[in-house]
């Protein structure tokens, strides 16, 4: 790694304390190195996000807001209570089906009917 490579990393604040000390010592002694450092700094100031990038970013943002995913994201919290309400309503209002009679039920009903008649009278026995 040359001193000029280190100079670039110096502009970016990416040097270790030891490297930093070495570069600063070299800068103090070498005017050409200082000129190069200033050129790198000026270039770095010029290379930045500009108005065209910000304008394009606004367009991208607007397009993404209209995208189906964003719409879903905007709507799903509102759907939660609606879906919950529908489920509760269906459970409560669902018509209960008429119970089907089994043979045990029929036998039970028959037995109750017989018992309710009471003992057969003497006349019928004769």
């Amino acid at each position: 790694m040359t001193m000029r490579d280190q100079l670039s990393a110096y502009v970016d604040g990416e040097l270790t304390p030891e490297e930093l000390a070495a570069v600063e010592a070299a800068l103090a002694q070498d005017p050409e190195l200082r000129a190069e450092l200033n050129a790198f700094k000026r270039l770095s100031n010029e290379l930045r996000v500009d108005e065209a990038d910000r304008a394009a970013a606004d367009v991208i943002r607007a397009r993404l807001r209209r995208s189906p995913r964003s719409r879903w994201g905007a709507w799903w919290p509102a759907l939660v209570p609606v879906v919950t309400g529908v489920v509760v309503a269906v459970v409560l209002l669902w018509p209960t089906p008429a119970p089907t009679l089994t043979s045990a039920d029929l036998f039970g009903q028959y037995s109750e009917a017989v018992l309710s008649l009471g003992e057969p009278s003497e006349e019928l026995n004769q």
Binding site: E46, A52, A56, A57, L64, S70, P77
Partner: protein, 205 residues
């Protein structure tokens, strides 16, 4: 960056989620990135929008210098959409900035060899309407931008991620799949190439 989410969805989990929603809203107002990402994962469109607002200009600046002005917006939009669709898979191992830049840079690379994006430096300077019509500073900026776009791909993307997106060397290494030392030397080389190109065109950076 650590993102903790209420993954349990019992009564306690829902309560935690509701509590988090309050924090997310607050984070959105304060711009806390980790919380914004967490909220976007749960489908909060405002958090998603806040992250787009934060990153789209930088991503566009880099993409524009890689694929040209015409394609950059589409590449960034497509990349952002893909990033947010797969957001559930993002575990926070890398910074969110690195995650987004990796997706967009890969899309730029997939577009393949680029067409020339600009006129050569001398022509740009010669075609200007005249110094009385445009500020000199703008001409210099345009020439620097033009020289930047003329750099070879590997130098342009490395220096672009540093200058336009402000990524650290370790983040750039992660995005491009390089060693940090390679990033350091590429950035230094890119700056020297840029300076030499401008000097040969009579522009003193």
């Amino acid at each position: 960056m650590t993102i903790s989410l209420p993954l349990r969805r019992g009564p306690t989990g829902w309560w935690v989620l509701l509590t988090r929603l309050r924090f997310w809203r607050q984070a959105r107002d304060e711009g806390d990135e980790a919380q914004l990402v967490a909220a976007a994962k749960y489908g909060d469109p405002d958090a998603f929008d806040a992250l787009v607002e934060r990153y789209a200009p930088r991503l566009h600046a880099v993409a524009r210098r890689m694929v040209g002005d015409d394609l950059a917006a589409d590449v960034v939009q497509d990349g952002l959409l893909a990033a947010f669709k797969s957001l559930r898979n993002y575990r926070g191992a890398a910074s969110f900035s690195t995650y987004l830049h990796t997706i967009v840079i890969n899309r730029c690379r997939r577009l393949g060899p680029k067409q020339p994006q600009h006129l050569p430096l001398r022509e740009v300077a010669g075609n200007r309407p005249g110094p009385h019509e445009v500020l000199e500073a703008n001409i210099v900026r345009e020439q620097i931008d033009s020289a930047f776009r003329a750099l070879p791909d590997e130098f342009r993307e490395t220096l672009g991620l540093r200058e336009y997106s402000g990524l650290s060397y370790s983040e750039i290494a992660e995005v491009l799949g390089l060693q940090e030392g390679t990033v350091k030397s590429r950035i230094a080389r890119a700056r020297r190439l840029l300076k030499a190109a401008l000097e040969s065109a009579g522009v003193r950076p």
